[in-house]
Symmetry: C2
Subunit: 289 residues, 2 copies
């Protein structure tokens, strides 16, 4: 597949969530010049939410990584700390060809590349990049979110192209060396490709975001079930109708009622308890190019 | 081994740390009367730090589970939220025969029973109980801390006997059903024994707390290494001189320099980053009784 575009101006972002330590330390490492020079590229770094990093919390007043809708960025009346921070970041990153935003998850999602917008999967250059990464590291999953750039509340959508890298399972506020080293290698593979793009052809496997499911709750709105032990850690594994989904505190199993085979992700992500998300369903797709 | 004492008045505590969800929901389950009656026992429950539970944080102003030294409890000038809460809890639990405090850890510690004081290992009744639990559930580890009751800053030491149950690996702020169900069963085993104590004999294996080790830090005091991938998750496995301990961000491995074989626990516990604890060394001991 032929490449028509150039990606030269790249920003690598850590600490969009202040308790996701891998991105923070990967960016600090890079700022300490521990990596090889990339003469053909302009690679910048950013620690996105310094106050939250200092506090070792996801955010201080509101989730920074939900503050980047164009409408919200243009609304000067929004005055929470993260809303103001988002406007500063948008100014700084507006002209970037590619924004790479580094995240951790407690879900067993390995090395997942999230494309927030549809721009990635529609762009031959990006498809070649993603295919190249999967060849380098078969554990790389691609999750396509298909938001429009203007509607996306996520930081990485600020770039002309966007990649969020979601790495787990890692408890927030901790470092898991094995995944840290793999993430570091993945970033280097991305930069290798951007320096020397290749026109490839093949079959790209990706997961298309569908919808999320909340935990079962009692009359007062409180959670009354957990992810079922048989589902825990089985991100990207097929889930069929009747498979166990939740285990209620009283011992009852709740089965999956969705028709057909689905592929759950973000199973038991800690930060999503407050967002009412127990897991997210995807369908598995292939792009032949 | 003959039993001389009686343990009738028991309090089961959850939410001493507000983001350790297993204990919170186990206590709420019990408050909803989902368990069998224990006619011979007086079993109470307590959610220790309601403000922290509401905030889904370990604590609000200071770690409640470090506020129970007798000297601190008697010092009315200590006025942080958790220091005041500790005095109220001490009043409530003062007369209890046994306080069971439920915790989670991100470390791979399975079902660990922590004896904060030496009273447990010196008491035939408690030794029989612990041995009974290990027979029921071989995954139960016993960790002996050997503090004096007056010097212990931990909540469970308020009882005439103390058990803290430390369950992991679980990211804070999440529920892992498999470990939740096992913890629930363990509590029932404890209550079974207290209703019908047995005089047993055998060999009790336990781990004696020695000392903790901080992460390597740079000149500015910031962490510059992670738990080595070969050590991650290997709680209660023997560690020998020269075994890998840390992986520095620059790629260098730091080896263990402690002489002899040690048995690390609390490896990569999230809440201990701020306390300067990367892991805790123990020695493995056996009590023949």
């Amino acid at each position: 597949m032929k490449n028509n575009i150039q990606v030269k101006h790249i920003t690598i972002v850590g600490g969009t969530h202040g308790n996701e330590l891998h991105g923070i330390h990967l960016v600090k490492n890079r700022q300490a010049n521990r990596y090889k020079n990339r003469d053909k590229l302009n690679v910048k770094t950013l620690l996105a939410n310094p106050l939250a990093i200092e506090a070792n919390r996801r955010y201080i007043e509101t989730d920074l990584n939900r503050c980047f809708k164009l409408e919200d960025l243009n609304d000067e009346s929004l005055s929470l700390k993260e809303q103001k921070q988002a406007r500063e970041i948008a100014q700084e990153l507006g002209g970037q060809d590619l924004v790479i935003d580094l995240h951790n998850t407690t879900a067993n999602m390995g090395l997942t590349i999230i494309l927030l917008t549809d721009r990635g999967i529609q762009d031959p250059f990006m498809v070649n990049l993603l295919f190249y990464l999967q060849k380098k590291e078969p554990q790389v999953y691609i999750l396509n979110r298909s938001l429009s750039a203007n509607e996306s509340p996520y930081l990485s959508s600020l770039g002309k192209q966007d990649l969020a890298i979601e790495v787990g399972p890692v408890p927030h506020g901790t470092l898991y060396a094995e995944l840290f080293v793999k993430t570091e290698a993945l970033i280097e593979h991305i930069l290798d490709f951007l320096e020397e793009p290749q026109a490839l052809s093949g079959t790209l496997t990706y997961y298309q975001h569908l919808f999320s499911l909340d935990y079962p709750r009692d009359e007062s709105g409180e959670i009354c079930a957990m992810i079922h032990p048989d589902l825990q850690g089985r991100d990207y594994q097929p889930l069929k109708p009747g498979d166990p989904l939740f285990l209620k505190f009283d011992g009852e199993t709740i089965a999956n009622e969705q028709p057909g085979t689905l592929w759950p992700v973000f199973i038991n992500e800690q930060a999503y308890y407050e967002k009412g998300v127990a897991l997210t369903f995807t369908k598995k797709e292939q792009l032949i190019f």
